[in-house]
Symmetry: C2
Subunit: 198 residues, 2 copies
């Protein structure tokens, strides 16, 4: 096998899709062309179709792979932890790590899912609603158990999730601050905003 380099025992398909994520993040899905993607990989556009199905199929794979990562971590969290505070902290930390380690894919999943076609569009949204619902239930439990300050649980969840998205903006400033400091400052800010006793 030649032109398409497959580092880290990835398939060529995976290599291409991951490069697509980089491109989609930088230029947006609709503004990215197959010719651009091909050029970055070092091949002609038509050659890509020996490995991938279509442009939108790559987007689909990116979005669902990310969604499934979050879901399976949530499964683990609910299985292994009991305290709402611990659960929320675990979720926050996972979001931060995903954002730092798999930035392009997470970004694309967050911003370009709406370019999916049906029926993928609907099932993706279903996944999202599910995740938010389960997270909201955790917060509600935390409020009941007096671990969190009272407030509308949905608003709290959205505020947390949105703040975590802020890590997108963060990539620019990478150099000026360490991962550790970032993670701690953010966790402190978010948790101490909802924790009753500090």
């Amino acid at each position: 096998m030649s032109k398409i380099s497959t580092s880290k025992n990835r398939t060529k398909r995976e290599t291409i899709t991951q490069q697509a994520a980089v491109l989609f993040r930088r230029k947006g899905y609709a503004s990215s062309t197959m010719r651009e993607l091909a050029e970055e990989i070092g091949v002609e556009a038509s050659s890509l179709y020996n490995h991938i199905g279509s442009k939108v199929e790559m987007l689909k794979e990116i979005c669902f792979k990310v969604a499934e990562a979050f879901h399976s971590h949530l499964d683990e969290t609910e299985k292994n932890l009991t305290s709402p505070t611990q659960k929320i902290e675990s979720l926050i930390r996972f979001h931060i790590h995903m954002m730092l380690d798999d930035f392009d894919a997470v970004y694309v999943s967050n911003h370009e899912w709406n370019q999916l076609k049906e029926p993928e569009l609907s099932s993706f949204l279903q996944l999202r609603r599910n995740y938010e619902k389960r997270m909201t239930d955790i917060v509600m439990k935390g409020i009941e158990e007096k671990q969190f300050s009272p407030g509308n649980a949905s608003v709290i969840v959205f505020t947390i999730l949105s703040a975590l998205r802020g890590l997108e903006l963060w990539q620019r400033h990478k150099k000026n601050i360490s991962k550790i400091e970032l993670e701690n400052t953010m966790l402190q800010q978010l948790l101490h905003g909802i924790l009753k006793n500090r």
Copy 2:
């Protein structure tokens, strides 16, 4: 004057641009076509060019109008208020109001600015950096004056700004909660995350 309805003593150009914001938000700038926009307005695509310069010029107007709104409010805030806590609260409230009252334009400004061409792209980014810098200075002052918990001021600002963006996700749930409750919950969550004494 006929087909293009100009409610609220807007010019036709403004009416078109505002409809463009709605479309750009729903489908993304690159995926929105002039023919679609024309159809929503009830006119042929070519007719739009009697009123607007080009597609990207509408995007430019949307983005800069929003940016200038935030900047002039920041000017007012710095002129009229002294306490960092008051200033930050004022900024947060303004963001919430803008997001609720001029949702489409703010959303487009947040998500599609990167589709601008030079030199607008650079000057838009300059505006953004300026705003963030001034806001960061306020937070730093607040930390110095022991009004805020210590922490990296930049991270705090990004966390706040990102959380405020969360109001985008909120539009879906509009019905289930009042503006007031939303604003208060969010402000409490954000402020009490950085305020030292509650």
